[in-house]
Symmetry: C2
Subunit: 135 residues, 2 copies
Amino acid sequence: MLSLSKKTDYALLVLTTLAQKPKDYVSLRELAIKKNLPYRFLAQVARALVHDGLIISREGSGGGYRLNRPARKISVSDVVTAIEGGVALASCLSHSETECALAVNCPLKKGMPSIQRMVLKTLTKKTVADLLAAK
Amino acid sequence: MLSLSKKTDYALLVLTTLAQKPKDYVSLRELAIKKNLPYRFLAQVARALVHDGLIISREGSGGGYRLNRPARKISVSDVVTAIEGGVALASCLSHSETECALAVNCPLKKGMPSIQRMVLKTLTKKTVADLLAAK
DNA sequence: TTAACTCGTACTATATCAGTACGAGTTTAC
DNA sequence: GTAAACTCGTACTGATATAGTACGAGTTAA
């Protein structure tokens, strides 16, 4: 099944939650308890989002996380990139692959990029704000 | 990394190859040797395509596989469905999941379907014929 | 100084992926 | 009628990815 990982699910959930209090630093533990999600795992996800500059953290008591920019400027593509490292609909489109190992004159190498671009465009268009608006 | 499985890669490769000789039954072993791919594994892929009616098989000497309909009528979405069983960009969109386990009033449940639809539309539009044309 | 936070790495169990192995059944050609 | 060239189907296996858990260190506010 072509699907996003649970980490990405969680990431989107964290971001939509933070988007509802854009100015406050929100405690992740509190969020985890409220939504009944595994805190330690969420923390990994949150750190990845910090790493990619989607959210900002503040350590110490009263700290937590908040968005680093407006929710409408955070696309689903940003999130997928932060958590999963990108999109590669065919193995020859992966960065790590130096060359398409499939076959000589592979039609996928020529044909898949356009699909990949269209999917990426979709993911780039949709933002965290859109997710919230659909609520 | 959001990506299609190697099985799906292979499936697309098989289909584009069959599309070049739409009327002939093509031996999979021959195809495997030519493209330097693992035959037994390909056979699994091919059977899945038969099962979903994308290709037709003929057993026995001189047998093999051929397309069951014109290449322009076989979409990438068809292939993904045959091999991976579909697309579920969020876990709550999966068929097996009876209910979204993430959280009460989850924004993903409301917001993700539209993304999923757009991605599916992209995959449905692109056909095996398109892949070949891009060659 | 302690309570409430985040940071970071290491570990683990399970599932999925990417094949391999093996044998059975089917059809054509000699 | 039998051998060669095919597909069919299930079972197994090793490697990698997923979905967490464990543990402790560092940081800030009250």
